[in-house]
């Protein structure tokens, strides 16, 4: 593409050759994110180090009409950072300075390449942490978290990335740099930040992020409960919520997921369990003590045959190890697998799990279930062997049918992994054409040329040009006395 080679020269001149990669072999290392079965070799990679770098690339792309895709650590599970073959991949992982840890103001200001867990590490000495904790928190970046509105096990009580990001410095698809929000709440005007967080890089690129720091709890208590099956475990979850307890986390794994985790990390979960629950409470010691006793009782009542209580942080880490390693662990029991991410109302859990079991039995495709039970976010792992003809297709079908189940029960096609490249095709199953069209009005406002991460989120782009006949009245700015039309 002629545009791209001109762009390469321009960016070399503006940013220096070291930040611009066009060697085919090197480009290949960026061909996918965490969803490795989608692969596209980017046309060009720029390793940005500053806001000015990002703005320069985006401005150049805008002028040349070349698409660009932002990428942080590349751990996303929906192909949100899948490159564009004729576009520029803007890698922000070198932008990893923690600029400010403001304990008294309960904020940190970081660059987008900063690793999620590093924010917590920086804040820990003053008794604070960054609450959103995706399972990939040791490697995923804050910029990626902002793009995907990342969740995590502790979001049940503390909320998602969108509830913890207070401001961004943002490069618009025109290359303009704009400040949105900051340390103080409620900046006047539209809640643009609400639209930006979770927009999967389709509205622009965040180059600096102001996040909330949360005070570390006085007490944390964690229990691991073994049940005969997921029905009983699900009853325990419902009973806990009905009792007015909001745990910091409630995680469930079924027999197959437990088997995989045991094989991989020897987490020592109760032998013979058809389901385990990890329930964690945190907060003031006086509250946690009272509620923890209640949770334990509710688990017993629901039929837990074994309950273990973490005596210390080491044991707590072991409980979590099984859960947090579950995705990778499934690799021990199956050569290939699809990680699904769907949401249902929590009360539909037993019904949906039975339906998934039926699907699995009918199709002969094994499904291991790992999920954030507290908020109904399912992560069924659909197992297959790509070497066996037809298995991949059958697994895809089962995976898609699970999303249908989520939608039938009033849920969502994604709780935390995002739509990305993977689920854009499913969006019309959840939203009407009018719904998607309305979302894309925002896209048109930010990115009329559709250059920022095109092909993600929406199955069909909206043309942002003027709709004939829509401008009957005066231009609103003219009417407001803010502009004149000639």
């Amino acid at each position: 593409m002629a545009g791209l080679s001109e762009l390469t020269s321009r960016l070399r001149a503006e940013l220096g050759a070291a930040k611009v990669i066009d060697d085919r072999q090197e480009l290949r290392t960026y061909e996918c994110d965490g969803l490795a079965h989608y692969k596209v070799v980017p046309g060009l990679v720029v390793l940005a180090e500053t806001t000015a770098d990002v703005a320069a690339v985006v401005r150049a792309c805008n002028e040349a009409g070349v698409p660009f895709v932002a990428r942080g650590s590349g751990t996303g599970l929906s192909g949100g950072a899948l490159p564009h073959a004729d576009g520029v991949l803007v890698v922000t992982s070198r932008m990893r300075k923690i600029l400010d840890v403001d304990r008294d103001g309960q904020r940190a200001v970081v660059e987008p390449g900063v690793i999620n867990l590093h924010v917590t590490r920086a804040a820990a000495p003053s008794g604070y942490y960054y609450a959103p904790d995706p399972s990939s928190q040791q490697v995923c970046s804050i910029g990626g978290n902002v793009a995907e509105n990342s969740g995590g096990a502790h979001c049940l009580k503390y909320g998602f990335t969108t509830n913890h990001v207070l401001g961004v410095e943002f490069v618009e698809p025109s290359g303009e740099v704009v400040e949105i929000g900051g340390k103080a709440p409620d900046p006047p005007g539209y809640d643009l930040l609400g639209a930006i967080v979770g927009s999967e890089g389709t509205l622009g690129i965040a180059t600096r992020v102001t996040v909330r720091l949360t005070r570390a709890p006085e007490s944390v208590q964690t229990l691991l409960a073994g049940f005969d099956g997921t029905d009983a475990a699900g009853q325990a979850v419902s009973a806990i919520i009905a009792a007015g307890v909001i745990p910091a986390a409630v995680e469930m794994m079924d027999a197959l997921a437990i088997e995989a985790a045991e094989a991989a990390v020897h987490c020592g979960y109760p032998a013979g369990a058809g389901a385990v629950l990890v329930v964690e409470l945190d907060g003031p010691a006086s509250e946690v003590d009272a509620q923890f006793a209640q949770v334990r009782e509710l688990c017993e009542k629901a039929g837990a045959f074994e309950i273990r209580i973490a005596a210390d942080d080491v044991e707590r880490a072991l409980f979590w190890k099984g859960r947090k390693s579950a995705f990778a662990a499934v690799g021990r029991i199956s050569p290939d697998y699809i990680v699904q991410d769907g949401v249902i109302p929590r009360t539909a859990l037993p019904e949906v799990l039975r339906a998934i079991a039926d699907l699995s039995a009918e199709s002969g495709v094994r499904v291991a279930n790992v999920f954030h039970a507290g908020d109904g976010n399912l992560h069924p792992l659909v197992l297959f062997d790509d070497a066996v003809p037809g298995q991949a297709e059958r697994a895809e079908e089962v995976s898609g049918a699970i999303l249908d189940l989520c939608l039938e029960h009033g849920g969502s096609i994604t709780g935390e992994h995002g739509v990305g490249s993977d689920k854009a095709k499913h969006m019309p199953r959840m939203f009407s054409a009018a719904d998607l069209d309305t979302m894309q009005l925002v896209r048109c406002a930010f990115d009329p040329d559709g250059l920022s991460n095109p092909g993600k989120v929406f199955p069909t782009p909206r043309l942002c040009g003027e709709v004939p006949g829509r401008h009957r009245g005066a231009h609103p700015l003219v009417e407001a006395g803010l502009a004149e039309q000639f």
Binding site: N149, P187, P188, Y190, A216, S286, V419, L436, P476, L477
Partner: protein, 417 residues
Amino acid sequence: MTGPAGVLDALRQATGGHAGPAGDGDAVDGVPARFVAAPGSTAEAAAVVRVAAAEGLAVVARGAGTKLGWGTPPRRLDLIVDTRRLDRIVEHAAGDLVVVAQAGVPLAELGERLAGDRQRLAVDEVVPGTTVGGMLGTGVTGPRRLQAGAVRDLVLGVTMVRADGVVAKAGGKVVKNVAGYDLAKLVTGAYGTLGLVTEAAFRLHPIPPAAAYVSVRLPDPASAYQAVQRALHAQWVPAAIELDRPEPGGPVEAAVLVEGTEAGVTARAEQAVATLGEGAARIDRPGWWGTLPAGSDRGVLVKATTELTGTGRLLEGIDRAAVAAGTTAAVRGSGGVGVFHAALPGTDPAAVAAFVKALRDAAPAWQGSVVVLAAPAPVRSEVDSWGPVSGLDLMRRVKEQFDPDALLAPGRFVGGI
């Protein structure tokens, strides 16, 4: 264009007869309307907006009408959409801690219904009478925001009618969902300038069995700031930290709310007394708790925000601005969040303008903003209600996409949007 009688016919048809010519009280911040229509469903609301779009009518939505004086007055106004017939609580999924309610449902009624299941929408009814739609349109929150988040953090999804009459949904009714853009946040606090919200889903919280208030009287902003800091960093977890200062230069009352189990709250309230220091005591809920400062219903209401380290400086800044402008200001707000409201007398427009300018000039020092929420007309014409807005170009482009003909609440929002 149809004549007034034809428009009225069309509106009546759209609403099954629930439309009529505007009466004496049918005005928005002093700007009279020509028609009032009261749709009873999203479909009727869409039909009403389609009439408005076809006739080029400027539309403002009105629920209980408690905050129509907030935001700038509309540039023009033809039609008030009265949302009070949108009065259904569509679904309360208690086991999922989710409620779906129509825009015209009063918060008080919603609260009563949810309380039956020992649950609540954790938004304080700061302005009595507020409806779901009014809460969303203004984004107004109270003390509980510290722990539960703002309206934008609790809204899960919306159904809205666009300016062209098309019905669109965004978000959903599950607490965890990242499919598509989060338009529910975008329309929250947008003063009805992007669409007419007819229905919304919210995340709920259980009502804790016990609550306690602890308060202390402090001599000045600096000591109030220190008290707020100690409470913020405490591990007994305040549900809210509020400050009340009836007059500039006077003492500040700091009060915290602790919520939880009976046993837990007793212990934590004692810790709170110790944290707040000398003179602190457990009290009944203060009379001023969760309300706007006195006089705000008649005079000028200003919202001022700050980073959490700027609370003391903001209160001092209000002192200085009031003294310099020759006025007075009663201040109340969420010290743990950084949102304060100040009430000023509205009798001297020049004094209010001087106050706002002085405070706005100083506000960058605490990274805050200063917005005039409500003011009598003579004051409005003297002050810039919104002040500087970062990202205004983007906001204008968003408005242009959603409402190219500027029919929805024109002029009610920042930068003439």
